[in-house]
């Protein structure tokens, strides 16, 4: 295993300078994600108009993988429909849990997370933002946990 494969430039960059941080003013769909094992806390707020995600922001504390994954996700999902986001989630989940799988071109920068599959203990760090976003989109404002 090569650390540079996990901590790629893109990941380190998004960890240091996360995009789309903060909280959207109400009315917004909001969900809180919590990883009790790591202590990661994440709040995602988003606005959906005509089934399309107009805006999304995140705030919280987490490791580099969790922060970069959240940051990359916000860039990737903006402007997509809820169904497209679900497809993207499935593709990301496959990428994170299947080592050596070829990242589909549709994933774009999210492909930088492929190294996570070599570190099973870290998969939950990368999926926390996605689970939280899906929770927010479901309209049920609540806390979700990954462990």
């Amino acid at each position: 295993m090569d650390l540079k494969n996990l901590y790629r430039e893109v990941i380190l960059d998004h960890n240091k300078n996360p995009r789309n941080t903060g909280a959207l003013p109400p009315p917004a769909l909001i969900a809180q994600g919590h990883n009790p094992l790591c202590g990661d806390q994440l709040i995602i707020s988003c606005k959906v108009h005509d089934d399309r995600l107009d805006e999304v922001r995140f705030e919280g504390t987490g490791c580099a993988i969790s922060t970069a994954s959240a940051s990359l996700m916000t860039e990737a999902v903006k402007g997509k429909t809820v169904a497209e986001i679900e497809d993207l989630y499935n593709a990301v989940h496959h990428l994170l849990t299947h080592a050596q799988s070829e990242a589909p071109a549709a994933l774009g920068k999210l492909a930088a997370l492929s190294g996570v599959a070599e570190y099973p203990a870290r998969v939950k760090c990368a999926t926390l933002a996605w689970h939280t976003l899906r929770q927010a989109l479901s309209g049920e404002n609540s806390t979700i946990k990954t462990e």
Binding site: L12, L37, G39, T61, C63, R122
Partner: protein
């Protein structure tokens, strides 16, 4: 023994722990997660194997030879524990699953006799195992939980403790060594305060048991809990020590075989100590392993273990303190060989992953002591914890791996 003799002695001891020869990610294993669990020497593995191959049957049951042998081995282990902690009598030694179960046993027996408004005093440094059982008692019995506060250095505020321990206190339950920060708690002072008010004391010795000699009579504690796997012994076994009068005053805990003298559907007569508190078939091979672990530790001697671990702690503290951006949490005057730290801008989980890539095993997270970590307003820490078999080279390997981590994130 001077440091150079200790260095030689401890290095030779590594041969007793084959797992220390492992490679992880192509690098020699540097095992610095001893606070979570220590490794087992061959003597312990062999003792358990010998038990399984020559001795095993159920204890206290059969008239046949193996049952007698197993009983002798199991009761022999109890006597070995008694000598190790200097209990008055071996029936004051109760075998449990571990420290957590030992504390829960007290909470669910001693605690059952408490009523609303009774107070239990714990400290800010406690492991969740010495917090949650008392919170459960708060919910079920309305007892009041009071917490001895800690200071910026990770020490307990003894003046506050003196004010918290009163005639209303029914139990003082404190750790001897903080697993998260390494603080050695001045339990003698706390016990003196408790004695003055007639308050019984439960000591959580989970971290302390492998790092210092413990004499329950000299301590004059009422209960003491520890786990075998933090004393170079097997997992799944622990001990609850209690003064005989205290144990006899406890209502029965789990019901079942071994804890009874006779059972009819109308009435059950409970057994004597220690069996009264050990329902069901116990972990016999584990007890035999623990006895072997005690032999091993006493053979080496705390007079060697302690100064070497303190030497490693001092070396690591000095080396890590010199790393920019690194901050050590827990700077008590008296510490066991535990070093908790954070690095500006790098989450402990990333530190743990990168260190593992270098073969260095440390713990990251809240160490099951969230309040003690929350105090420092961090979500988690990285923790290196040293055992006698660790070396100065391993301290250096830790420091170099940390420097690599920082470089990667720059």
């Amino acid at each position: 023994m001077n440091i150079s003799e200790l260095r030689h002695t401890m290095r030779a001891r590594r041969a007793d722990f084959p797992i220390l020869d492992s490679t992880i990610n192509g690098k020699p294993l540097v095992y610095l997660d001893n606070g979570a669990s220590t490794q087992r020497p061959l003597a312990v593995v062999e003792a358990e194997r010998h038990y399984a191959l020559t001795t095993h049957a159920n204890v206290h049951r059969g008239v046949h030879t193996l049952s007698q042998r197993a009983t002798d081995a199991y009761e022999g282990a109890r006597e070995r524990v008694r000598r190790f902690i200097n209990a008055r009598s071996s029936d004051e030694v109760i075998f449990t699953k571990g420290t957590t179960e030992s504390i829960n046993l007290i909470a669910q027996t001693f605690g059952r006799l408490l009523t609303a408004g009774d107070e239990i005093v714990i400290s800010h440094l406690e492991h969740h195992a010495n917090i949650v059982p008392w919170q459960m008692l708060r919910e079920s019995h309305g007892v009041i939980l009071k917490v001895i506060p800690m200071t910026e250095r990770g020490e307990l505020d003894l003046n506050a403790a003196a004010a918290l321990i009163t005639e209303r206190t029914k139990l003082l339950a404190v750790t001897m060594i903080s697993n998260a920060l390494g603080t050695i708690v001045p339990v003698h002072d706390l016990i003196r305060m408790a004695r003055a008010k007639g308050v019984p004391v439960l000591l959580d010795a989970a971290q302390a048991i492998g790092h210092q000699p413990i004499d329950v009579q000299a301590l004059d504690c009422d209960f003491l809990a520890f786990s075998a796997h933090k004393l170079y012994g097997p997992d799944g076994l622990g001990v609850l020590y209690g003064k005989r009068d205290r144990l006899n005053a406890l209502p029965p805990w789990q019901g079942g075989g071994d804890m009874i003298l006779s059972v009819s559907f109308e009435k059950t007569i409970y057994n004597e100590l220690p069996y009264r508190l050990e329902a069901g078939t116990p972990h016999m091979s584990g007890a035999v392993g623990l006895a072997a672990a005690i032999d091993y530790v006493e053979g080496l001697g705390f007079e060697r273990i302690l100064p070497w671990e303190q030497h490693l702690l001092a070396l690591a503290t000095q080396r890590l303190s010199a790393i920019p951006k690194l901050r050590i949490l827990g700077t008590a005057a008296r510490k066991a060989s535990v070093l908790s730290f954070v690095i500006d801008g790098i989450h402990p989980h990333d530190i743990g992953t990168i260190l593992n890539e270098e073969g260095v095993a440390i713990r990251t997270g809240h160490h099951c002591a969230q309040p003690a970590i929350d105090y420092f307003k961090v979500p988690a820490t990285a923790r290196a914890s040293f055992a006698f078999y660790n070396t100065e080279d391993e301290v250096e390997a830790l420091a170099v791996a940390i420097e690599k981590t920082i470089a990667l994130f720059e």
